[in-house]
Amino acid sequence: MIRIQNLTKYYGKRLAVDDISFNVEKGEIVAFLGPNAAGKTTTMRMITGYLMPTGGDVWIAGHNMASHSLEGRRLIGYMPEIVPLYTDMTTRSYLDFVARLRGLDKKRTKIRIDEVVEICHLEDYIDVILGKLSKGFRQRVGLAQAIIHDPGVLILDEPTIGIDPIQVAQTRGLIKELGKDRTILLSTHILPEVSMICERVIIIHEGRIVAGDRIENLTTILKGGNRIRLKVQGPAEKVTTRLARIDCIQAVAYEKPFHLVEFPADQEPQAEITQAMVQSSWTLLSMEPVKMSLEEIFLQLTAEEETGS
């Protein structure tokens, strides 16, 4: 649905996006993850046609955004990082204006305004001047504006930034719901958000894609090894030394009340661990594989990138 090839953007001499390529398939929810100034917003602006790339191409459902921008723009709903609100308009007149520009006729506009107002829970704010809305509600109006024409592709730039925790949860739920029958690309620098909403993550740093995969795969690829978390009833220090003596185990760490054990991906030390515990007559209360959290992945990836370059 979204195809990006060798996309590059220079601002004057500064390289903001460096030759990135990726696809987002129909119906996928993909997170664009990266620290501030990584090139997320610039990339999204090129996808939506707001900025022209210095090099490379963007296709939306087969429409090249350089030569067939209008066709491509028709299919996209876009919520920029700064929610684009006319502060002197009411929610209703604003949504009406956007819907009409999106090519909806009067009747359909009316129907859709009612629908998106319900979806985004804006019923009580429909006749309020946008300038008087709080940050959270502005964000909702921004989202309502992006889905007013029922687009197949949604581009959301930091959709949960700057709003309170309850609203964040609501917005995430809403995005997941919208993603059931839409292609969504959203940017964020909040890690837990990614695993909550998205199926796939593309990590971008200093304008380059440093990793991109399904969340499950990314975790194993990055580990380079596996980890097991143990809960053992016994003297912690002795358990640690005993575990370290097992051949294939590379590292042991004690994080109360767990022991974390690291070993190469092709080994299976579970049997030996169990044996060792039984021999020392300690009770093994639990043993489970640990996935690396996205936060760790993120830190590791960006750290690697820095030492590599």
Partner: protein, 238 residues
Amino acid sequence: MKNIGIISRKELKSYLSSPMAYIVTAIFLMLTGTFFATYLAGTNYSDTSIRGFLDAGQILILLFAAVLTMRLIAEERKLGTWELLLTVPVRDTEIILGKFLGSLAMLTGMLLLTLYYPILLMVFGDPDLGPVFTSYLGLFLLGCASLAIGLFASSLTSNQIVAAVVAGGILFALWFLGIAGNFAPGALGEVLTYLSLSRHFPDFVRGIVDTKAVVYYLSVTALFLYMAIRSTETDRWR
């Protein structure tokens, strides 16, 4: 075409919902009204014409065009709505023409409100209506050119004050080109005079509709609208 209508209606509504437009209109009417009345009094009510209104109006229209257009694009940039307008399926040309027509509707409204000057003359005297009609045509054309220049200035910046100052600068430079033309020798002088915004207006006041003058104002309008469109396109290539 439809999109131009949607944008111009939005602009007009936005003018009418802010106190700014009413203040601007009130000041415009107050100033032109004063000049209209003092001119009449000055001729001891012997010359039943709207000369006084026109003498002041031609300069005031430049000022008010700069004020009306300064927010058109600069404010969108500041609010971030420019990004919305440039990513909906609407051509850059449609955005610019929509905004131009919205401001033109506002200015036309202001001009229509001054119609009570000639109406007063008709009630109390017997004015020559020919020059009145051509004068209004002249003001309208001068207004078109001024608004296009103002819109172009607004497309250059995100600061409304800067937009107004740039617009005022271009407008008055073009206005006083005529004076420069008087001093420049030969052909150069004639060219400068022809390019001046002020050179073509007196004909309309005298009741003459010169094709050259009409073409001049429409060309200036078209040129600056075109430059505003190009300036919008350039935004995408930052």
